[in-house]
Symmetry: C2
Subunit: 418 residues, 2 copies
Amino acid sequence: MTAAILTIGDELLNGQVVNGNAAWIGERLTAYGVTVERSVVVGDDQPAITWALTELLQAAEVVICTGGLGPTHDDLTREALAHALGRPLSRREELLGPLQDYYSGRGRETPRGAEVMADVPEGFEPIENPVGVAPGLWFSGELEGRGERMIAALPGVPHEMRVLMDEAVLPRLIERQGEAAAVQTTLLTAGLGESAVVERLGDLGPWLSDNLRLAILPKYGEVRLRVTALGASNGEARRRLSAFLDYARQQLGDLVVGEGKTDLAAALGQLLRDRGLTIAVAESCTGGGVGAALTSVPGSSDYFLGGHIVYSNQSKVSVLGVDSGVLRAHGAVSEPVAVAMAEGAREALGADLAVSTTGVAGPGGGTPTSPVGTVWIACADAHGHRAVRLQLGGDRLTINRLSVTAALDLVRRRVLRG
Amino acid sequence: MTAAILTIGDELLNGQVVNGNAAWIGERLTAYGVTVERSVVVGDDQPAITWALTELLQAAEVVICTGGLGPTHDDLTREALAHALGRPLSRREELLGPLQDYYSGRGRETPRGAEVMADVPEGFEPIENPVGVAPGLWFSGELEGRGERMIAALPGVPHEMRVLMDEAVLPRLIERQGEAAAVQTTLLTAGLGESAVVERLGDLGPWLSDNLRLAILPKYGEVRLRVTALGASNGEARRRLSAFLDYARQQLGDLVVGEGKTDLAAALGQLLRDRGLTIAVAESCTGGGVGAALTSVPGSSDYFLGGHIVYSNQSKVSVLGVDSGVLRAHGAVSEPVAVAMAEGAREALGADLAVSTTGVAGPGGGTPTSPVGTVWIACADAHGHRAVRLQLGGDRLTINRLSVTAALDLVRRRVLRG
């Protein structure tokens, strides 16, 4: 099945807004086995929208468009659909009640002109919008000279578009592909890069098909595997998904941090909470980034006590009790200093665990023994400590982000094995 | 002048990559007074690229396309241009030398097939690429049935595209608009939101015109004003720009953090370095974010000593010496605690200045006196302290980011006034 995406709005043309909707829709369609042929952006201009619809209906079986469904004078998608398909608009009286309810439920008068949102081109059906006011529109049928076509018109507000896409549009497309159901999940891994993760997965040939698709999405040391399974029934799709997940988890072992909507900091937080452990940080090169990541998780005060940012050598000694002789002998970017930092923070805050970072984020500050990108991380707990040397590539921001991921992952592994 | 944007690449259609190039080009063209009419994405597919070129040359006077200029079999832009315009490709021998030099300069053999990058459609001129291997292509002239048209084909790698756009394409467009020169700069402000900044600017009517454009770009408490001035000469454009900048600086006073490529942390860092001051942080709700922002700046070890992340009440007392009676009486999110944290960190690290944050980032943890979004920030120095209460909206991430900006800005103002 082929598709085209039409995103509508002046703000997308003049660069005020980056076109996240088109990327999201493209990714979703691809995951469900639909090939995206074209993607077009036009402004709030009826002839331009009509041109785009006409061209895209020529090029693809499905056209997904977003934006221009609101009540204001620059919301022109309904008129353009009617015009491009030569089908008149008619007002659906049954949609007026829900429109008024939407506004009165928010203590507002129904704005003048809002009733245009009840106008639907002939042959289209409205798609209920459970998270906003403007209904979506759906068409499926024969178009003269073009064959069988499907059209979805969705609101431009990203979270409304996503809900309507997931709940109304994708199920209809899957059904049309001859499958009744699709299920999707994400496995989050940390500790290895994209290509190493793929290698660990082994031969995927027997697994991947039109009914089971895998996307690999790397980001600063976390690698997400998004898996989509289709099936003739929900049960079949679920069985297909779960067989693959079992295989992937076996291959990947403790690289797997979690499944579904999670990130490394949240998964580590859950692990710490489950085991009743507290944590502290001692940060040099990351400058507070590990603490910021840990506290990005709601409720992190249950396990995160705090920590020390010891950017200067002086502060490593005075705040964390790092031995100044060790610092002189080994340099700040060294295993003994990383370990002393973690142990110092653990003691100072009375935490079960502490993690430390010390490295050269660049662009300056490299030495022959510790070039830019050298980072030591260490984790200390009641049983002892573990330290790891990283040699990272990229700019200052990248080195910092990768260091934060590696530090969180070091703790995760330590807790899992403890 | 009207323009259309064509971005080429399968990765843009399937959502692997969000289309930042189209947004950047759209923003740039708009700033220079060019209206973007359409933006199209097609995959690495010759007929699709040809279709898009044909349609877009109908719709707009200028077509900017990116991607598909490399040496591999899926780089098809040259062929598509030749096809769409009915102009044969011919190899420009004078481009072969620079291609070989590019690879040999990197110690590599010239890859097989690289010579296709020297193929240029008739009537086009190559645009030298100072930051990559594939040259861009430029056309300006009469196209049968369409009138005067301009076409730029640029590499898809964002930083290459940007350099060629700024150095070769925009100057040609400006010249075509009857102006010889354009100059652009950005004023960075902090401390007030977008609408308050606009209000402080006063009546812009006498200033703005086709020759002087202003874009307002807000992000987490920083507001950037991007100003573009055109003129018949570079001198005229510069005079126009500088007259407006003088006016804007006078209206905005100490809201202005800096000009050009800077951010608040870098501007504050420069200020601290200039005055020979050192700084420490004491973070509760921001969890390390202020430290991470300060250390995002290369060379920040010159003035940033470190700090304390005191997430638990216990750590506020044990690490920073906050009086536990004060903590009990006023609560952790209070002026006296924020001040005691800043003073404690300043003393512990022997810094000239320290800044603290304590607040409720949510979603839980709000109380009637300190609802979610309440944040106290304080700055302490040798002369005393200053504390500010913020009441912020948004989710946890937004509240944290806004708090970091406010904390850095509080220090900036204190240093400026000290």
